[in-house]
């Protein structure tokens, strides 16, 4: 498989809401099989970048996806009312009627426990209300939903909270596994530099403008992080020196 095939080129990208410049002068490219991390402080325009890449907001400049690519998106958060009468199964059937495929994709995102057969558990989950899932379960369900129709590219907007810390590591292991199994290219917004070092082969730093771009171990030096986060950066790195 050709790994140096460029599937996304972004040039001089800008997004304005009314007169407010939210993103300015972004330029980068993504090759097939890449894992590109997007980092930046809160409100720096990361999620807006995703929305521009998905064509959901008007923008200036160029966003060129290779032809015929299928994109899938895992949003940062969903406001699901606990009372919403929608079962997990119905949520999946919005996208595909193939029950076998739904169960298999749930298995592949690790919906299982020690006491049950995987298929049994997946089928049990399908009858639950979507709003009753725990944060970690919902995250897995959303990822399963995103990969259900075999996308080429996955855009993953990491939740700032909602996943239990123990589960956080496994979500990324899971994403890596899915990437290998399904030849995915991934763009992920992350708040966790440790994840970026460990999983991404490219990173862009955004604070309205692009303040760094390249291989994480090369471009994420203390100067770049201070520029991006101010005082916060040392806190981020320190925190993940510990084992949870």
């Amino acid at each position: 498989m050709a790994h140096n095939e460029t599937i996304l080129t972004v040039e001089n990208l800008g997004v304005k809401f009314d007169e407010n410049e939210v993103l300015k002068n972004l330029g980068f490219f993504v090759q097939k099989g890449d894992v590109l991390a997007i980092i930046g402080p809160n409100g720096s325009g990361k999620s807006v970048l995703f929305r521009a890449l998905l064509g959901l907001v008007p923008y200036s400049g160029k966003i060129n996806w290779a032809k015929g690519l299928k994109l899938s998106y895992v949003p940062q958060k969903l406001n699901i009312d606990k009372e919403l009468p929608l079962s997990v199964g119905e949520f999946f059937r919005i996208k595909s009627k193939d029950q076998g495929k739904i169960v298999s994709v749930l298995n592949s995102v690790g919906i299982s426990d020690e006491n049950h057969e995987q298929d049994h558990l997946a089928r049990h989950l399908l009858k639950q209300r979507l709003g009753w899932l725990s944060g970690g379960q919902l995250q897995r369900v959303l990822i399963a939903w995103a990969v259900l129709d075999d996308p080429d590219v996955l855009l993953f907007d990491e939740p700032t909270s909602g996943i239990d810390i123990g589960g956080e590591e496994t979500i990324y292991n899971l994403l890596r596994k899915l990437k290998e199994e399904r030849n995915l290219t991934m763009l992920l917004i992350s708040h966790d530099l440790n994840i970026v070092y460990k999983y991404a082969n490219n990173v862009i730093c955004i604070n309205k403008e692009m303040t760094c771009y390249g291989i994480p171990s090369e471009v994420l030096d203390p100067a770049a992080l201070t520029k991006l986060y101010g005082g916060e950066a040392s806190f981020y790195k320190h925190e993940h020196g510990h084992h949870h």
Binding site: R51, L54, L56, L71, S72, Y73, P75, L78, N79, I80, E83, L84, P85, L86, S87, G89, E90, F91, I94, K95, K127, R129, L130
Partner: protein
């Protein structure tokens, strides 16, 4: 209970169709958190009915015209801002009710406010039947996109759903069903028939297919039961239909999931 006469049969058919349509659509109005919009929107129909009466046109068309303008307004507000402009909608609709009361001919006012099915003809039944079928057909086309956009607009858009178009079609169907329902409940109570059966169904449903189906069935039972009871005791059907749905709601509350 007496023999079911032919006019009663026509009334029951209209009542069931309208209950079914209002209940089913109402289930999505609750999902979209539009319960109050559903309530006040029906008031807008009054000036429309009044104008239709003045020009001697079928009141349905006057009501639908006014409701169409109202949903157009709501749709623009929805597009402009994430927050529903409840205050603005509330003020505008209350004002249109006031204007409606002023310009509706005195003799027709009670009928317009509370509905009147005494003179329902076969043509009304046919119109109601055909338009309810059209509504169900369009809902079958858009309900997936509608459901997804309730969960997340962005998720819906990212899978190719035209959220704005879906929302507009839905509001159009609301205008249609409310305009049809005015015959039975009038402008004051139509909002209740949209919301109460759906609220009852939500109490006892874990999934969407059961919820929307029960919602339609509860609406239909309210129409059927309400008209039968009202006829039996010589009461005004509109309020009895709404009260029937209220009784169903109370019963479901006991079995709330």
């Amino acid at each position: 209970m007496g023999i079911i006469t032919e006019p009663l049969l026509l009334q029951l058919m209209v009542g069931v169709l309208i209950g079914l349509g209002a209940g089913y659509l109402g289930s999505f109005m609750i999902l979209k958190r539009m319960s109050l919009v559903g309530d006040v929107i029906s008031h807008v129909a009054l000036p429309g009915i009044a104008i239709a009466l003045l020009f001697e046109v079928n009141p349905f068309f006057g009501a639908f015209g006014a409701l169409f303008l109202a949903v157009l307004g709501i749709w623009f507000l929805e597009r402009k801002t994430e927050i529903p402009s409840e205050t603005l909608v509330g003020i505008f609709f209350a004002l249109s009710l006031a204007v409606g009361i002023l310009i509706t001919p005195q003799t027709e006012l009670l009928e317009a406010l509370f509905g009147d099915i005494a003179e329902i003809a076969l043509l009304d039944v046919l119109l109601t039947g055909i338009l309810t079928a059209v509504m169900l057909f369009i809902m079958a086309k858009i309900y997936r996109g509608l459901t997804l956009s309730v969960i997340s607009k962005e998720l819906a858009q990212s899978t190719g759903v035209n959220v704005s178009k879906t929302s507009f079609l839905f509001l159009l169907m609301v205008a249609l069903v409310v305009a049809l329902g005015l015959q039975v409940t009038g402008t004051f109570l139509m909002g209740a028939l949209v919301i109460i059966p759906a609220a009852a169904a939500k109490n006892i449903s874990l999934n969407l297919s059961r919820y929307t189906m029960l919602s339609g069935i509860f609406g239909a039972i309210s129409g059927l039961g309400g008209i039968l009871i009202a006829t039996r005791f010589g009461l005004h059907p509109g309020p009895i239909v709404v009260l029937t749905s209220g009784v169903i709601f109370l019963i479901t509350l006991l079995f709330k999931k």
